[in-house]
């Protein structure tokens, strides 16, 4: 083992065929203890800090060939299916997609006009939050159940970074928690360690939606008096700064009020098709933490009184500026950093 026992070589003389790697040892309890302590340390650091993210990223990039080799049969199968696909079926599909494309373009015409108007109004209010985001289409290449994550086929080489939100055609899907050169891991909104600041579309009431680990979300610390009903739509409130304002998150499907409990028990069904979508959009132009802090400082006159000058004070100030931020919660977004 490590240290002492590895020096204990005389035993090997009785086994002339055995080389150093395959020789037997008497005990390695010290080495084992060391390894266990090391593992424990790693786990604690990994759980509580983002320090190990680069280590993961490097090892993951080294292991990328494994992932791709393992994926090759599926890719080949997909190619074969494409080749064998019925011509008529393909033509039908193209027609359907073209129609859908036309419809979407039509809707987008209006959206452009409205977005323009909104931009002008925002300029009047001196608000700096950009409405549009650069997106990157990524394909889902794998799933993991615990924690609830999916693996995408784009990594930091393509501009994917940890913390970027991921959406599908219907709503918020999750956020990137780990990247290698050409793959990335996305934590789903339904994972218990995932939290999104949301607001109720009907009345603007703010809340925080946390995954329940069972395929739904639930509103955390929702006071019994909170004005929320079954059927309410929840959208990203943009308050945490990580998820941009306006993306649909889910629909409230169930509310239970137990008189013995101070908080409502709510069930929110996610809008995104978490178990069906294969093509997802990574929002790549979300500002980094530093840029956001800078923007806050410039746009909010309150900033100066809250931030005591030094750059070290900024992260704290950001939390106090945004009380609804999920970052302020113990089981906040970055917990799996």
């Amino acid at each position: 083992m490590l240290g002492r026992s590895s020096l204990r070589s005389p035993r090997r003389r009785r086994q002339p065929t055995a080389d150093s790697l395959f020789a037997r040892q008497r005990s390695g309890i010290y080495g084992l203890s060391l390894l266990i302590v090391l593992s424990g340390l790693l786990m604690v650091v990994d759980q509580n800090t983002p320090w190990l993210a680069p280590v993961r990223s490097v090892i993951g990039t080294v292991l990328n060939p494994f992932e791709f080799t393992a994926r090759a049969p599926y890719l080949a199968a997909g190619k074969v299916t494409d080749m064998l696909a019925d011509r008529v079926a393909l033509l039908n599909r193209v027609t359907a997609l073209e129609e859908e494309n036309q419809e979407l373009k039509g809707a987008l015409l209006r959206f452009d006009a409205i977005a323009q108007e909104n931009e002008t109004l925002r300029e009047l209010f001196n608000s700096q939050a950009p409405l549009e985001h650069e997106t990157l289409i990524a394909e889902l290449i794998g799933l993991s159940q615990e924690p609830k994550e999916v693996i995408l086929d784009k990594g930091w080489l393509h501009g994917v970074n940890v913390g970027q939100p991921v959406i599908d055609a219907a709503g918020l899907f999750g956020q990137v928690v780990e990247t290698t050169a050409v793959t990335s891991r996305v934590l789903l909104v339904t994972d218990p360690s995932h939290a999104v600041p949301v607001y109720v579309l009907r009345n603007g009431v703010r809340a925080i939606a946390v995954g329940d680990g069972l395929g739904n979300l639930t509103l955390k610390y929702a006071a019994a008096t909170l004005d929320v009903r079954v059927g309410d739509e929840l959208n990203c409130s943009g308050l945490g700064g990580r998820f941009p304002f306006g993306y649909p998150v889910g629909v409230v499907t169930e509310i239970n009020q137990d008189a013995a409990e101070p908080f409502l028990r709510t069930t929110v069904q996610p809008r995104a098709a978490l178990d069906r979508s294969r093509h997802l959009l990574v929002l790549t132009s979300i500002p980094t933490d530093e840029a956001r802090t800078e923007a806050n400082r410039r746009s909010l006159p309150l900033g100066e009184s809250l931030q005591p000058g030094s750059a070290r004070g900024l992260p704290l100030a950001r939390e106090s500026l945004q009380p609804g931020s999920a970052r302020g919660l113990p089981l906040a977004e970055e917990s799996r950093g």
Binding site: M1, L2, S6, Q15, T17, A18, D19, S20, L21, F22, A23, R24, Q25, G28, G31, L32, L35, I36, L38, S39, G40, L41, L42, M43, V45, D46, Q47, L52, V55, R56, I59, G60, L63, F66, E67, T69, A70, R71, Y74, L140, I141, G142, L143, S144, Q145, E146, P147, E149, I151, E178, R185, P192, S193, G213, R278, R336
Partner: protein, 162 residues
């Protein structure tokens, strides 16, 4: 001869990593994932039984780190459990090697279950994930892989040490 052995060890270890990296297709049925063996554990225990390496525990730990990254698990979780399982196996190797294949497979299943349970408990403590009763199934698959290794790997290489 020597290089052959190393090549074989390397091939099985790389194969185990490859199978660890392999993910079920997105539309695979849910129950399929419960049949998924712990490839790394099966290979490590196989080599520890057949030819206990001097630094087996360290190798197991390093392989565990790779598995952790592949699974996106808490870094160090697989490393710790694999190192423990390999250590225990190496400790009783001389006894285990005399067992019949079925008994050895039983031991592997037990070790797999222990590691699986340990990981589930750690995850439950760290992230709050639920412990599923289906946890009992993968160890059987792991034992099956072990038996397959014993049967399939060429005989001559089994005379590593003795």
């Amino acid at each position: 001869m020597m290089t052959n052995r190393y090549a074989l060890v390397a091939a099985t270890v790389l194969g185990a990593l490859l199978l660890t990296a392999a993910r079920l297709p997105v539309d695979a049925p849910e129950w399929l994932r419960w049949l998924r063996p712990d490839w790394a554990l099966a290979v490590l225990l196989y080599w520890t039984l057949i030819a206990p390496a001097r630094l087996a525990t360290v190798w197991a730990w390093l392989m565990g780190i790779l598995v952790d990254v592949l699974y996106g698990d808490l870094l160090g979780l697989h490393a710790m459990t694999l190192a423990l399982a390999v250590f225990a196996t190496a400790r009783f190797q001389q006894r285990l090697v005399l067992f019949k294949l079925l008994q050895q497979a039983g031991f592997v299943a037990g070790a797999a279950l222990a590691t699986e349970l340990a990981r589930a408990l750690f995850r439950a403590a760290a992230v709050g994930a639920d412990v599923s009763p289906f946890l009992l199934v993968p160890p059987l698959a792991t034992a099956a892989v072990f038996v397959l290794l014993v049967v399939a790997v060429p005989r001559q290489t089994k005379r590593f040490v003795e």
